[in-house]
Structures are given as structure tokens and as C-alpha cells.
Amino acid sequence: MLHRILIANRGEIAARVIRTCHRLGIETILAVSDADLDSQPARLAGRTVRIGPPPPAESYLNVAAVVAAATRAGADAIHPGYGFLSENPRLASACAAAGLVFIGPAAEQLALAGDKLAARALAAGAGLPVLPGGQVHDPAAAEALAAGIGWPVLVKAAGGGGGRGLRPVHSPGELAAAAGQAAAEAQAAFGDPRIYLERFVRPARHVEVQLLGDGDRVIAIGDRDCSVQRRYQKVIEEAPAPSLDPEQRAALHRAAVAFGTRLAYRGLGTTEFLVGPDGGCYFLEMNARIQVEHPVTEAVTGLDLVAEQIAVAEGRPLRLGQADVTVTGHAIECRINAEDGQGRPSPGTVTRAVFPAGPGIRTDTGIQAGSAVPPWYDSLLAKLVVSGPDRAAALGRLGPALDRCEIGGLATNLPLHRALAADPEFAAGAVDTGFLERFAARAAAGAGAAHG
């Protein structure tokens, strides 16, 4: 039983974790950088502990400072949230060494999921479909591999993931140079020069399955579609993934559970799949942490995923069987970011923060009027989640709910979300990962025409 949890994160996810901890009667200590001493989550937490200056490398990414803060505050566990150290095996190991519970999978499981080549091999070994591809040992020999895969190909870094370390290559002439450069960049960024090729499938959808495991048993908690992306960053997510036929959905869930079971996974995790135009599903990677978009799953299952995550971290067996998980209705999440219409970041100070309330509406945020939005961290301000008995009902709530959002003091992507909520292609469902770029180009052309 955990009594006092240190949260090594910031923003909306810190506020989110604090809320569940307090509901469970668990004390919270929030680790804060100097930029976040007076943040909304700092005000919500039972206590705060300063861990360093604003740059992430000196605070939220500093394993020693985070573990020392937890030890000194008398915490018995660390919740890493997402991003920052959440998938860093060194934090998991340091927690074990310090006698702290790491609320996440074991260090070896993090290391395996973080090594995209190892995860790919494990998936293939567990019988999951993977895209044609393989490791590039020698840039000069890459062309033969690519010819076997079929053009275009995607050069990926074994240490990358989540959209980082990707490089599409369209013709044989570019490949050797691209592979060499990708390996050098991967070495510099991840300390790991290994790269691999995979077939670059377009148009594709991004569908993922939520997993929960106790180290013994693994269950699937529904699926999500995250195809509305810009520069590989998700903008809108929904649960369940629209327009999958029941066999396809069941196959995805089975594949995800097979992967988690092969890992003897303990914790919350997500297996990501690419769904091709022919309906083929391919394993992409595993995220061994809570996802930003977990609230859409909570909205359709009625579960508190953070509470389940804490329960398995306490060493309890799963409280749910696969048959206990039922998906009812549909939920859509919009990531409200501090960025302008062109996707340029917009740090600053929030002067006004109004969010919608009512049935079928949930807002997760770490800001309020007066909050600083510092330049050092990501631009997520709030997540608006709407839900209803079906997708049409959820969509019907989305537009009016977005209209009631007001964030003053900085630019936000609320206008983009309002336009998307009114877009017939998005309303039809099952858009592919190229949809948002096309939509933005269309909107820009329309604006140009209107002004011209």
C-alpha cells in the first residue's frame, strides 16, 4: 500500500495524477523546477520539492535530483507521468536501489520497449505482424534491403520512437546518404547509432491498444485512433477507433495482449499499430507508460487508469478480468496547445482560462488564470474530452464545448480544433495520418483566397 507518492512531472498530467492520489487518500509531493514553483499542480499538491533550474536536463530529466527529492520527502513511490523520465530504465533502477516503488514497468521492460529493434523482434516472435524491414548494418548495403522491402522506405532509429528519429526515403539514390546521416544523428541524440528500415505505408491510420498487466496477466482496455497528427504529434484522439470491423479489432487486441504477455508486462502500456489502406495491421512500437490520450479510454470504460496503475505498482494482481472491460459509447479528445495557427509555439502568461462543463465533458489542465506557460516544456495546455452514446453524439458535443473554451494571454490551437470539429471528412471518421496536413493546406489556401 502506497502512502506518499512523488510526482516527477508537470502540467496537466501532474494535476491528473494528484487528483487520483487524493481520491485514494495518498499524499502527494510534486517535484518542481524553478519555472513551476507556483504552477497550478504545485498548488494542488500536498507539498512541492524543488529539483532544479528550468531546463529539463537540470530538473525533470535529472534522475539523481528526482530520486533524492523523493527520498528526502519521505515518499514511498515515484509516478513519472509521460515524457521526461517516464520510460527511462535508469530511473526505474535508481528507484529500486533507493527502496522506492517506480510506478511503471520493470527497468528491463522499459529497456526492451525503448529499443525499437528489440521490440520489433519480440513482436515478430510473438506472432504479431510487423512491416517488411530490418536492421541496416552498412549504409551501402541498405539499398538491397530497401529493394526487397519496396519503395518508399522509412529509416528509423532503434533508440527513437514516438515520431522521433524518422526519415522517409523515396528513391534509391538518396538512401545511402540518408542512412549514414540518420545513424550519425541517432548516435548524437540517443547514444545508439543503430537504424533500421521499414516499408513506408501511406495512407495509414494510427491505432493503439491500451494494455494493463500485473506481471502475470495482461488485459486489453480498448483501443484508440490517433491518426489526426501534425509533424508526428497527435492533435485529436478518440476511443474506440472508428470503422474497424469486429474481427480486425479483435485481432488487434489479441496481438497487443500477446505482446504484453510475452513481455510479462507489469503496468500501463500502449501498443501502437499502423493500419494500412488494405486493412492490414502492423505492430509499430510499445509505449511503456501512461499516454497523454488515456482519458478517452477512461470515458468509454469508466475506469480510472491511474488508480489501476498504482494498484499494480503496489504489487496487487489485476482487479479486472478481460470480461470486466466493457466499452460503452465514444469519446474524442482535443489537445489544446499554446501555439498559433501555423503551429509556432506561444509561451507566455495565461490571463483567462474558461473551460466547458456538463454531462459528457471533461477537461484536464494544469493552468488557470495567472499561470506561466514557460518556453522550456511542451505546449500542451489542456485536454478537452467529450463523450456520448455514439460517435455522432460525441461530435455533436465537441463544437459547442470548444466554443465555450476561452484561453487568454497566448495563442492557442483552439481555432484549428473548431475548424476540425466542423469538417465533414473528420466527421465521417477513419481519417489517415496525412489528413491534418491536407486539412491545414486547404485551410491556408481558403484563407488566401478569402483575402485575395
Binding site: 520539492v49 531546463p55 516544456y377
Partner: protein, 195 residues
Amino acid sequence: MSPADDGPPALLSSEDVKDILRLLDGLGFGEFTLETGRFTIRLTRAADGGWAQQTQVVTGPVAAAEAAAAAGAPPAAGPAGAADGTWIEDKGHALAAALPGPGPAAAADGGWREIRAPLPGTFYRAPQPGAPPYVEVGSLVGTGTVVALIETMKLMNPVYAGTAGMVSEICLADGQFADSGVVLMRVAAPSPAAG
């Protein structure tokens, strides 16, 4: 049990808010404000009949008795981007949309022109760790030359020279934080005689 005497500022849960809204809907009120010592919540009915909420936590943060910052020396200052990997993305995707140029750089005394930070963020001289810098003192630049990156909110934003000439001074060290509008570099305008 909370460590603080009064406990943390437990906000109303979304279920509490929904209960209040149900009550307000039944009573026909259009606005509701609750102020406690810990938070305020204001609910207002929008024109479409839906509700909007403003929540403000008014209690300040409670610092734990002892700062742990001293523990664990921060790692050697390096490009923070390397730690979270933002450097490696395909530049076509990783770079934020082109920032509007700073406009014609203001000519300072003696024909110097200044290149200023278009956004607050971390100043990087090279496209990725270990790569050669975009420019050195003495480099010739044109208006559209990328001279540096500013990392803001995990996005790498190119900084354009915005002027033509020779880089005469680089004012910040690689990896240093630059506030918006801070002078990053100075450029000597090409002398008409040298043309």
C-alpha cells in the same frame, strides 16, 4: 491524511460539478460562484444553454521542509534537445513553421545590424549536437540564411539572418537561454565600397 494542516486544496470533482449543474438547470439560475479559502469556481451558462467553468486554486504551494535540489549535481550542461531527442527528427517535420523574419534588422551604429531572438528559448548554433555551427564570426549571410535554432516548447525554430552581411559577433554561447528579442548576433553590413 494530508501532510498540511488544512490538507491540499481538494477541488470539486467533475461529478460534484455535474451535480451542481443539474441543480442549477432545475432552478433556472444562469451563474454560480463558490469561493472557499482554497479555491473559487464560477459556473456560467452560455448562450447555447451549455455551461462554462472557471476554476482558480487560491492557496499557494506548500514547499516541503527541505529543498532537495542540491542532491545530484546537474549533468554537464549540454544541448537539452539531445536529452529528449528533439534534435533528430527529419527537419522537414521537426522544425516549426518558418517564423516571420525579424524584419529588416535595425541598423545600429556603424552599420551593425542585429539578429534578435524571435521567441524565448534555448539558443543552438548547430542543427544537431556535434554538427558544425550554422555560422561563425566572419561568415557571410543573406536575408534567408539560417544562422541558429531557438528551441521553444520542444520545437526547433530556425532563426534567419534577416539581413545581408558578415557575422561580426555571436553574443550567446551555445545552449544558453535567450529571452524574446535578445540580440543573438551582430552582422556588419556589406560596405558599399567592397561591392
